[in-house]
């Protein structure tokens, strides 16, 4: 009996060994450029990951049909981090160790990118997030880049917009206490709004699992602020907007790029109308890069309009391909240097120039929600 067991185990072990080396060998021989991508395709911010993935898949096809990069075909390995930090770290490790990628696109939420970035930094593999806006992300090291503006800028734009365009005097702030993104934006907004002569009358916190916001919103209502700043993700925001309307709060809500999902309208319905949020791009903008991108995306996915996550994932991916082309190699250090030198790169979300902290200098747009649709309101440029 025991002998039989040993033999079975041995056979199993051999099968595994063969399978593993088989995979590794196959990749080394092929002449593909392998790029990794880590997105949340399931979990709390799932629609974000799906649209980023769609945009990149569309671009990979285009690039390969027109001859690839450096004369080599491009292949992207997608990993689902389930919108979780621990899973992101595992996914980054897997991409570097097993798939031997030359660069990594992702993750989406700052919390998740922060979990994966140190691993990429240690391995010397450039990691480019399309959407992580927390300042600390690129502070991890010189291999970590992003294609979007940073939190301070989004908070500053929101404060500036509230003071100047909406002529607000008082503000309340609601934040998701478990998210670096939300807490970081709150501090910047409060600082800029106060510096600009406004008064923050109330700050409240919630956790992402909450469904009942009535108690917190009742406190907001009691203070009767002109605007309410909610730097959080659409799942919570949808419920907050709906319940705020039920409570009869008539303040204008201002949000961030975390609001950008059709699910927001599904959750809030008409309660979302009349509120604003900062975003990276607007499909209404009359720029050829934007219109070309929308046309291509629509053609690939039955006329679907790409959201900002798709546009930023697309930009991050193209920046990487651009850097590889300019570097003329797939060596990690060469790609890193080329990325750091990015200047005047024309992306869908504006023209990108990297500053010395590996953060792009670019513009933001303010979106108004009208009739459950996103309508372009204003463009705000960095000072």
């Amino acid at each position: 009996m025991r002998k039989k067991l040993w033999i079975t185990m041995l056979v199993l072990a051999m099968i595994f060994a063969v399978a593993l080396t088989g995979c590794g060998g196959g990749q080394e021989e092929s002449d593909e450029i392998v790029i990794g991508a880590v997105f949340g395709m399931t979990g709390d911010i799932a629609t974000f990951g799906q649209s980023s993935k769609e945009a990149i898949e569309m671009r990979v096809k285009e690039v390969n049909e027109s001859g690839g990069v450096l004369g080599r075909q491009v292949r992207v390995v997608f990993e689902d981090n389930k919108s979780l930090a621990t899973e992101t770290a595992l996914a980054v490790e897997k991409l570097i160790e097993q798939d031997e990628v030359v660069a990594i696109i992702g993750a989406i939420a700052s919390t998740n990118t922060l979990a994966g970035a140190p691993i990429a930094q240690d391995a010397g593999v450039p990691m480019i997030s399309g959407t992580s806006t927390a300042e600390s992300v690129t502070e991890v090291g010189d291999y970590i880049f992003r294609a979007c503006f940073i939190d301070p800028f989004q908070g500053r734009v929101a404060a500036q917009f509230a003071l100047q365009n909406l002529e607000a005097k008082t503000a309340a702030v609601l934040t998701d206490v478990g998210s670096d993104y939300s807490m970081g934006l709150r501090d910047v907004f409060v600082e800029n709004f106060t510096a600009g002569g406004g008064k923050v009358v109330q700050t409240s916190e919630f956790v992402v699992q909450d469904t009942d916001f009535n108690a917190v919103l009742t406190n907001v209502k009691a203070q009767n602020p002109d605007v309410v700043y909610v730097p959080a993700y659409y799942n919570s925001v949808g419920l907050i907007l709906a319940q705020a309307a039920d409570l009869g709060i008539d303040a204008t809500f201002i949000g961030t790029d975390g609001w950008d999902s059709p699910t927001l309208f599904e959750l809030a319905g008409d309660a979302a109308n009349g509120h604003f949020f900062t975003n990276h791009y607007s499909p209404d903008a009359d720029v050829p890069e934007v219109q070309d991108f929308i046309a291509a995306y629509g053609a690939a996915y039955n006329g679907k309009t790409p959201d900002a996550l798709a546009a930023l994932g697309y930009d991050a991916f193209n920046m990487t391909l651009d850097a590889i082309t300019r570097a003329g190699s797939t060596d990690g250090e060469a790609i890193r240097d080329a990325l750091a030198e990015t200047a005047g790169f024309v992306g869908v979300c504006g023209t990108i120039t990297m500053d010395e902290k590996r953060n792009p200098i670019k513009s933001a747009v303010m979106i108004e929600i009208k009739d459950q649709k996103q309508v372009y309101n204003a463009t705000v440029s960095p000072e």
Binding site: F206, N219, L247, T263, L267, A268
Partner: protein, 315 residues
């Protein structure tokens, strides 16, 4: 808004949340009262009830069928009323059946076994339904049909929405109905008899199995109603919807004295109001911690719950 209005507003918020906890807690308490089982799958029945209502309301769309037939009724209160009653009714029937099936398949074969075995089975059933829902429907939260167009009323300076009135009203109605069934009908008498002494009840000619099935049916139906009220008020439904409300309802049931029907209602209200109160004071992030702390304190002082009587354990 003055301090008094704020207090009233938070009380309204707390009572409407507490009403839902109470509805779910009734199911826990009735099942415990009759077979001494803590049915942890009850929160999932709540979730399934909410989903049944969701699919019935979005795919069948009764209200537009009515207005197509009788255009004069469009936008009137009776259309919404019929729609709500039908949605809740269908979900209650489906969940009552499901509750009986679960009892028959998962709990009945274990009736003679150790109590822990049945408890573990309940946890298993709970996980089974959660994951089945994720597999079939997907994990992404869905926006819930609001059932009523949003409308607010002024109540002593505070705002009360028609959905909050709907929640509290339906809860009171269902509880009165339950009291009637338990105290005035033959089946209710049988339920009380079985919960008191199963063997003696059987000797008196009561069909114990049918009575237990009936108890599960009623408890599950109440959970389904709670699920729809909860989802339509807060505006979302997802496979893990039942997790936290289920746990809170369990706490409510224990708080009020498990096995005692008015206790469940009382526990639900205490929990709902304390949650709103804690959030109102600005400690919304430790709201759940406070809810469970209340439970611990009450159990330390009075282990049988607020309305619980000291009954010596039968040997």
């Amino acid at each position: 808004m003055g301090v008094l209005e704020q207090v009233i507003q938070q009380l309204i918020n707390g009572i409407s949340l507490g009403s839902v906890y109470a509805l779910i807690a009734l199911g826990y308490t009735m099942v415990y009262g009759i077979i001494k089982l803590i049915n942890f799958a009850h929160g999932e029945i709540f979730m399934i009830g909410s989903f049944v209502g969701y699919f019935f309301n979005t795919s069948f769309d009764l209200s537009s069928k009515i207005t197509a037939r009788w255009p004069a009724m469009e936008g009137t209160f009776s259309v919404y009323f019929i729609d709500i009653i039908a949605t809740i009714g269908v979900a209650m029937i489906v969940c009552a059946t499901l509750g009986m099936v679960v009892e028959r398949l998962a709990y009945k074969p274990l009736r003679g076994a150790h109590r822990v075995a049945a408890l573990m089975t309940a946890v298993g059933v709970s996980l089974f339904f959660q994951n089945l829902a994720i597999y079939w429907i997907g994990a992404e939260p869905k926006g819930y049909p609001r059932l009523l167009p949003s409308q607010n009323y002024n109540f002593l300076g505070a705002t009360i929405s028609n959905r909050q009135i709907m929640i509290v009203g339906s809860t009171i109605l269902l509880m009165v109905l339950l009291q009637y069934i338990v105290h005035k009908t033959k089946m209710g008498k049988a339920m009380r008899a079985v919960s008191l002494d199963k063997d003696a009840a059987r000797l008196m000619g009561i069909n114990v199995d049918a009575t237990i099935s009936f108890t599960f049916a009623i408890g599950s139906a109440l959970a389904a109603a709670g699920g729809i009220l909860y989802s339509s008020t807060y505006g979302r439904v997802e496979p893990l919807l039942g997790l936290l409300p289920g746990l809170k309802a369990f706490v409510s049931a224990v708080l009020g004295g498990i096995g005692i029907i008015p206790g469940a209602a009382l526990g639900g209200l205490i929990l709902g109001i304390s949650e709103a109160g804690v959030s109102a004071l600005g400690y919304s992030t430790i709201r759940d911690a406070v809810a469970f702390a209340i439970l611990i304190v009450i159990l330390l002082i009075k282990p049988t719950g607020i309305l619980g009587k000291n009954v010596r354990e039968k040997v």
